[in-house]
Symmetry: C2
Subunit: 410 residues, 2 copies
């Protein structure tokens, strides 16, 4: 097996970064002309791999290298090329370019199975309000109609976007895959968190992908004059809200050894004036974990705090559930293979969970699936400052290549 | 002395409420055509009082009834006719209509001193960003230039507004009054808080007017992915902010027996997304009281909390002072006169502080000044639902009339 060609990997990542680049970062939204142009450019660059290129009914792209036995289920790898607005150069792109580099490394190897690289469409939720649309449709989760339901005013819905780009939304079922369609699916990705960057470990082997439970906590007190209302006459919705922000933090901290996290990302105060006691406060909460029981424990703690604070502060509090998904366990067998590879190559690693969602979540419904993380600087992602070093990228690709070599001959 | 004519008082309050009324409340901004029209209408209604009407250089209006000795300093009463956006019918208007009703009640009385009713301009800060402009200029506090500094984009500044309405801003110094220009100044007002409404007392005699100290607390943590950042890797600016919201509440509660209150009215979270840990939070704080030492104690407690939380949560916190005014003590002698009147008439009362600012704050710099509050329903003010009952209004006017009768013969 050949070594990682760092120069080629860098050239491809940088080349793709040019599509949608401005001084505010990279904006290459799903199905945009930049998205299509980036994919077209990439396929031209790797023409020497002589892969068979096919697209499904909604534009997911499959690049296939044959194996000795073309009847065997292929080993699949992949990720996505679309970005958030003002994003970075590595999220998604690394998994596509890394998978293609694996094919270069295995170019002279005889493999039993075919190997396929998948470029998923619309992984980011920026354009249509839904994430991982391409892999969801492959896994039979949701339809173009559903993914059109969050369309922004004056912008094309997902269905309209498909039509504009020559796809027939009614054909989407042709893109749905059967269970067992691949031998396995492997995704290389930057961590998008700072664990590996801070611990110095080179590889993260993902055990579970967390599922977000998202809800609003709405606190209703009484808006009063900030000067004319004595402290003991108040029903300050924000004071109650502050107690709940801390309760959310505490509930997740108590469950943190089980990988559960919780965040209040948004606070809305009404009327929101410096001289009026807040009468209504809305907290937007994101609770995630990989252990359903732990998530449930945290949710129960939060609900207890809601009852307690409502009584203590004489305010009305309601919890409005937005989404509540189940965490996705990845393949233990594949994780074991990655662990063995790291041990053999003396690469430091950590078995960890993914707090962010990925296409691998849905592929896991179809076939044994695994993910490998590499560190990204300061954990920064979805941001122009997103960065992964060439050394860390090379290690990630090396591990991926070794796994594919093994699995394609199994 | 004649009795309060409740029918006339109601008719005048309702009549004024018609200027600027819509289904969203009453909007009669300072110097607007509604403001001028309301004053013109009111003067027509009370023409039978045969008052001498004068205006100063910025439009404060003085309605004078002569006394036996026109050389003596007049007893002055008054308030304002302008409203906030979408305000109510009583704030300001009660003090003007009530003072005029006092003149009706005293119509057949011989008084030593003249009595004047002042209609102040621009008490509300809605239009120009500064409150009590009319009384500030009378007291020599600030200039039209200063009051133009917060002008809104595409709207007339205070100076431009003066010119548009036929006043010359350069003449403003002619409106400045000398110390001792009146015997005293008395203002009748709704409480704008819920103390009297909840205790059932009929009259509030104001001892001090609170001064606001306003500042921003800026918390800088680190914005991270809400799913991919374990609880112990976080520097969540909002968690630190929540601790400070509670610290502000506690600091004021500890000083509440000294009349100090504090409110966080606005919270800004950045980036403000459900899936991002807040990296920056700004709290807008309004701290008020009537006791400078107590305000200082509360401020010290808040500063201690700021240091403690910055260390505990490893975040950067800065306090940005916006305004810091001194509380204004009102006349004790006048308060005693009001107390005696209430006792004599068996009217329940409470000696209390005003959390809200009023024109009386600035008149107190010129002459002995007092304020009388009446209850308003649920403490609601600056709102279409603002309401004071005819019975409570009549009691307030009766007390005011008795005081004027007494003081105008002193």
């Amino acid at each position: 097996m050949k070594e990682v060609n760092q120069e080629r990997v860098n050239r491809l990542i940088e080349g793709i970064a040019g599509f949608g680049k401005s001084e505010k970062g990279i904006t290459r939204l799903a199905y945009s002309k930049e998205d299509f142009a980036a994919q077209k450019w990439l396929l031209e660059q790797i023409a020497d791999l002589k892969l068979t290129v096919t697209q499904d009914a909604i534009g997911n792209t499959f690049l296939r290298r044959e194996g000795k036995n073309s009847q065997l289920e292929p080993v699949a790898m992949g990720s996505h090329l679309d970005t958030v607005a003002q994003g970075g150069a590595y999220d998604g792109v690394l998994g596509v370019v890394g998978a293609l580099e694996v094919l270069y490394m295995l170019q002279n190897e005889e493999l039993e199975r075919p190997v396929e690289v998948i470029i998923f469409r619309a992984e980011e939720s920026t354009r249509f309000g839904f994430a991982t649309i391409g892999s969801k449709i492959m896994a039979g989760v949701g339809s173009p109609e559903k993914f059109s339901s969050a369309a922004k005013k004056n912008e094309a819905s997902f269905e309209e976007c498909l039509k504009e780009n020559g796809y027939n939304p009614e054909d989407y079922a042709k893109a749905v895959k059967q269970e067992g369609c691949f031998k396995c699916f492997l995704e290389l990705h930057i961590e998008q968190g700072k664990v590996l960057d801070e611990t110095g470990e080179q590889i993260g082997i993902v055990k579970n992908i967390a599922a977000p439970t998202r809800f609003k906590i709405i606190v209703e007190g009484i808006a009063d004059h900030s000067g004319a209302t004595p402290m003991d006459f108040r029903r300050d919705a924000l004071v109650a809200g502050a107690k709940l922000i801390l309760a959310v933090q505490e509930a997740a901290s108590e469950e943190s050894e089980n990988g559960t996290v919780a965040t209040v990302g948004v606070v809305e105060t009404e009327p929101g004036s410096i001289n009026v006691i807040p009468g209504k406060v809305t907290l937007w909460v994101d609770l995630r974990g990989v252990d359903s029981e732990s998530i449930q424990n945290a949710m129960e703690s939060i609900n207890e705090a809601v009852s307690f604070v409502a009584e203590e502060d004489s305010v009305r509090i309601t919890v409005d559930m937005l989404t509540s998904d189940e965490p996705v366990p990845l393949s233990e067998d594949l994780a074991n293979i990655f662990e063995e590879i790291c041990q053999e190559k003396e690469i430091s690693y950590r078995v960890m969970n993914s707090g962010a969602g990925h296409d691998a979540m849905h592929m896991a419904k179809l076939v044994p699936t695994s993910m490998v993380f590499i560190p990204c600087k300061d954990g920064i992602s979805h941001n122009p400052d997103e960065y992964a070093s060439p050394q860390n990228i090379a290690v990630g690709i090396e591990v991926l290549a070794a796994a594919v070599m093994h699995l394609a001959n199994e």
